[in-house]
């Protein structure tokens, strides 16, 4: 990259971080927890969110902000559960930014929300560079993607507070070494929690639910 390119990138990231801080302060004033969920396409972000809504909706008021390059497939699934769902289409952009989230927050009744899930664009590379104002970052890696992905796409895993290893219901059909995986994460990010789960069957999801509830208390 040329010096000019670097300067532009620093300016973009600097302005984004400032806006993210404003978002976080707004959420704090309303006692809302916001969790940014990142993964590759098809790892199960929407499935995890739907399963979590099902479990926590009687205890907490939940909203979802959906980031997609195109379409409103995921937001439609959330809205079918009678949960407020704000669709952001990035028109080709590969990640959400703090300004998009600011506009989405403007449309929500923040006095009636306890918990917001941000479903980021399906992308393990670009998303983690942009602070959105969330309090916690969750990364989902699914069994079919393979256990070498944290070494190949380290930034998201380094930024994660919690890592869900999803689709453990199909573990017998893939070469993912689940027993040694926490060691790989420990080498990159020792403070991250790791929960092997299946959003499809519900297996292992209790640890993730408890993790959220402990922060919300």
């Amino acid at each position: 990259m040329s010096a000019r390119t670097i300067t532009i990138k620093e300016n973009i990231l600097g302005a984004n971080t400032e806006k993210a801080g404003i978002n976080r302060k707004l959420l704090d004033r309303h006692h809302i927890l916001m969790v940014n969920i990142m993964s590759s396409p098809g790892s199960g972000k929407t499935s995890v969110i739907l399963r979590t809504i099902d479990r926590l909706r009687d205890s907490y008021r939940i909203a979802v902000i959906e980031g997609d390059v195109a379409s409103s497939i995921d937001a439609d699934k959330i809205a079918q559960q009678n949960i407020p769902a704000i669709q952001i289409n990035t028109a080709g952009g590969c990640h959400l930014d703090a300004q998009m989230i600011s506009k989405a927050l403007d449309t929500l009744d923040l006095d009636r929300i306890d918990l917001i899930f941000l479903e980021n664009v399906g992308n393990l590379v670009c998303t983690a560079d942009f602070d959105l104002g969330a309090h916690k970052n969750a990364v989902i890696l699914s069994i079919p993607e393979g256990d070498d992905k944290p070494r190949k796409y380290p930034v998201a895993f380094v930024e994660a507070d919690v890592i869900l290893v999803n689709k453990i219901d199909v573990l017998p059909y893939f070469d993912f070494k689940l027993d040694t995986f926490p060691g790989i994460i420990n080498g990159l990010n020792p403070s991250a929690r790791v929960f092997p789960v299946s959003a499809k069957t519900g297996e292992g999801m209790d640890g993730w639910f408890s993790w959220i509830e402990e922060i919300l208390v």
Copy 2:
């Protein structure tokens, strides 16, 4: 995006397209076919390339250019097959660009190569925006990712000459509707060829091998 942002993006893409044209002319002078392979992380780009090397190496001289955010895991696997493998690390960048490919081509003995596979960064969003000088674009979608991905990430599928639906060996364990999938692609990109394959078992790969061989003749 502001007007200035758009101008910068157009300038970057314009310079890239010009460089891509130079790469393609260089390859044409040496009678080399270059295929750009794009997918999400873990869809099976390296596995498809390894299986293809195994099948075509007696008939054609093959080289591989590996694009990764970090690590040389994939290039090491290729090099173990005694195939020239050039590693490009993008240092966080989410796609390859034509300048990177130009530098990689400089290191290869182009008079002794018939076929180059470009393994792009694992990313279904950013990669398709950048012409690299390849003659053909191949997109891999794996069964576990789900059959809704062409609607959610349309650009790569619109730019594809061929789409490999990989991991059909695990089709019974997922909700991917393989019979209606070609219709989804037909709506986006009627001229794209679709091959359901398993790079793991070899099932269905003959169609893909023939597709390459027909271009190379």
